[in-house]
């Protein structure tokens, strides 16, 4: 009975965060578009774009939390799914440039003309259609996660080994995307985007819409993730995290459970990447860097793994800190980030939200114990008959 009560409380928190996100998604673009720049409540476009970027990172961290916090899979390669989603969006945006590129080729992007390519590689076909590109945003990372997870989970690679091979995966992709012959723009990546769905990517209106879309998708994914973890399936998921062998002996197909979660998480990461690219205006192989993926882990850890809300808060806080630090004292940032890694693991293993929840639960438990001592039923609050 107590757990049910707590779960209901948990859901209420998620719902609150959902409302906050939706409110942000409506109010920030509205203030940007409707209020005059003199108004103290006006949000300038650059700030909105920056915050939009944080929300993309938050979605990525949320995706990681689903696998790490609830399933115990520490993926050091989530940046790869993010980047793949970003590249899918980038390819759509590249095709939208059309003949407005530097070389004016109606079909080939500039870098292909520059490399003397004569025709579009097969995997670039279809990306001129928005729906196809958006499909690829979830399909490509999902497929990679499926293939990778299929092999890894079936042969029971877990723990540190899994972390290391996910890192190797993103590293291999980093090397691959750096190659010019891969057909993804090599070192420079994809950039110089002009418009999305016919709207100029620089226009305030488009940026506001992108921001709203990001907030909306973050809310949507949060709702999905919360739905997953609070369902029966979510209980099994936590079981896999805490006692994998026991869950297996109870008759569950652990590898299927892991695979499903991993693929869903990779798709969310892909969506995050796709929302990220039009807001920053570039995608390059650097996004595959193993360091990026580990940073996502620290956002999640700072906010609190296994809380869903924590990673969102962690991603926004750490990236806000990064923007402030790298602007003011660039030398200090790596010290600060490195220190954060050490401090969080040593002193704040539950993260911010996790610690607060833990305190709250502890107080609840204490109250329940006190009540039990005085004879009050903790669920019904009915005083014992005198």
């Amino acid at each position: 009975m107590i757990t049910q009560f707590l779960l209901r409380g948990f859901d209420r928190k998620i719902v609150a965060v959902l409302f906050v996100l939706l409110a942000i998604g409506v109010l920030v673009p509205a203030s940007n578009l409707l209020l005059s720049p003199e108004n103290p409540l006006h949000v300038p476009t650059y700030a909105m774009s920056l915050f939009g970027k944080y929300l993309c990172y938050a979605l990525l961290a949320l995706a990681l939390d689903l696998v790490w916090g609830y399933c115990g899979i520490l993926s050091l390669g989530h940046g790869a799914f993010f980047a793949l989603g970003g590249y899918a969006m980038g390819m759509y945006l590249m095709r939208q440039i059309g003949s407005r590129g530097v070389y004016g080729d109606p079909v080939l992007p500039d870098f292909m003309v520059f490399l003397n390519w004569k025709e579009l590689p097969w995997f670039w076909h279809g990306f001129d259609m928005f729906w196809f590109a958006m499909l690829m945003v979830v399909v490509v990372p999902g497929l990679l996660a499926f293939v990778f997870g299929w092999f890894a989970f079936r042969s029971r690679v877990n723990g540190v080994y899994l972390s290391i091979i996910t890192q190797a995966m993103t590293y291999a992709l980093l090397l691959a995307f750096f190659r010019n012959d891969m057909g993804f723009g090599g070192n420079n990546g994809l950039t110089d985007f002009k418009d999305i769905l016919g709207f100029s990517i620089q226009a305030d209106g488009t940026r506001a819409a992108l921001f709203a879309a990001t907030a909306l998708f973050l809310a949507l994914c949060l709702a999905i993730a919360s739905g997953i973890v609070s369902s029966k399936f979510g209980k099994v998921l936590v079981g896999v995290r805490d006692a994998e062998s026991r869950v297996r002996f109870l008759g569950y197909r652990v590898e299927h459970i892991k695979l499903f979660t991993f693929v869903v998480s990779a798709m969310m990461a892909g969506i995050a990447g796709a929302l990220f690219v039009p807001q920053v205006g570039i995608i390059n192989p650097g996004e595959f860097g193993p360091g990026n993926s580990i940073e996502v882990v620290i956002w999640t850890a700072v906010g609190g793994r296994g809380t869903l809300i924590g990673p969102i808060i962690g991603a926004v806080l750490v990236n806000f800190g990064k923007s402030v630090f790298t602007g003011a004292f660039p030398e200090i940032w790596l010290f600060a980030l490195g220190g954060l890694f050490i401090a969080v693991t040593l002193f704040l293993p539950r993260g911010i939200v996790g610690t607060i929840q833990h305190r709250f639960k502890a107080r609840q438990a204490m109250k329940a114990a006190r009540d039990a001592e005085s004879g009050i039923d903790s669920d019904t609050k009915i005083q014992p008959a005198e």
Binding site: L74, F148, F151, A152, R154, S155, R156, V157, G159, V160, Y161, S163, I164, I165, Q167, A168, M169, Y171, A172, L175, A176, F178, R179, P290, I294, V297, I298, A301, E331, L334, F335, L337, G338, G339, L340, F341, I342, V344, T345, L346, P349
Partner: protein
Amino acid sequence: MTTFRNAAAAFAFLLSLLFSGLAAAQSDPAALFDQLGKANFAETEKIIAELGKTGDVKLVPAFEAFSAGDLYLRKEDGKVFVARGTGATLQLFNPATGEATGEAAKGALTKLKVNNTVRRAINNALGGLTLLSPDKAVRFAAAQAVLKSPSADNLALLEAALEKETDSGVRTIMEEAKAVSLLSSDRPVDQKKLAIETIKKIGGRDAIGILRSAEASVDASLKPDIDKAIAGIEDTLKLWDAAQNVWYGLSLGSVLLLAAIGLAITFGVMGVINMAHGEMVMIGAYSTFIVQEFIRQNAPELFDWSLAIALPVAFVVTGAVGLVLERSVIRFLYGRPLETLLATWGVSLVLQQAVRSLFGPTNREVGNPSWMSGSFQLGGLAITWNRLWIILFSIVVFLALLALLKRSAFGLQMRAVTQNRRMASSMGIKTPWVDAFTFALGSGIAGLAGVALSQIDNVSPNLGQSYIIDSFMVVVFGGVGNLWGTLVGALSLGIVNKFLEPYVGAVLGKILVLVLIILFIQKRPRGLFALKGRAVE
């Protein structure tokens, strides 16, 4: 094509008829030299060849003078002299005998023109002439010159020289030169067959070139022999190429081994994921830099010893950093490998930035001592000294570490703690200190790797990052907790990498290796040499 070749052959035949008549008439060297005065370039070539055939060693200075542009025509009587000196009047010498024959004003002389074809002809003739020199080194050089630019004209001389030759080294070269020259001569087919065999023995790309060019001119019956010889040489070359790849692979493998072996201790024995391991390597490299700077400023004569001095320094410095790291961070995280991974990643960021702030973001110059620079040839292999030393060094480090683990009291305690911590503790082993010193040892070895890597890689704050993923791959591939696994893993990854490189390029090769490892881990999640029994979980 054929018609052109036929026409050219006919023309050459006519030309040779013309000149053989000319040469038969005047084979006296002095007269031949005088003919040079009026000859055009084509005739000059022919005359030089005739002069070369005389085998007269005394003509060498005249040839050298000709090549240097010191051969002049006296306008009044059409005679040719070697003229030396500066200023308006030049000393004259008889080209055939070398005797001084007075002097002449510069205006009375015309310089004989030399172009590259003529110079080549001179070198050919010189090569033939100096074959008979009493000096062994000169003969050797001459034989090599003939070998490089074979000509049928030198054949008779070579045979004469071979008869007199006593030195076996010079003889071999002469034999080879003879074989090469024979191919372009009009000797009978069976002699040419022998010559092809000899050329095949020389081997190398040059031999293939000689055979290819000979193929066009020789009798059709010899073609299969030549093709066979070329195929034989190509096979040998392929073998050497493979050997070279193995060598490169060993070299890369030894670097991987050095970088990974410290990790094999911390990760394999202690189960600690040390993402800052690469930074330990970097600190080792920077220690080398500091030691070298110190030596450069205070005792430059010790520079050749700088690496020997840097080794203990780097070991102690990185070992100390490792000890501090273990005591301050890692010991609180035992049993939580994923948290350890994150914390040590943080440490690596801090160390990188610290080094960047102290030494700047650019590459630092670390010199090679004299005994580590240069290379030597071993058969068809080019071997650089620094790679050779690094391979030897990695083997020494590996063996020393193995001995330490298997033979020393510390190694025994270490293994005891790895296998059963509680039991070891109740036997009186101070497990926390064993942990601390094991970690320090692993870090110290990373420092040693840094000293070696400073010799072949850029010493920059990013040095460690480029090795960390590879090192993890080696340890995971080889099997955790087994030093032999690390050795086999490092060497095989190095060799596979280098064998893939020529076919698919360096980057794609690396990607393939990563993919192969990922697939391999699916098959054997615990690596090549997996631990068995209770220690596994």
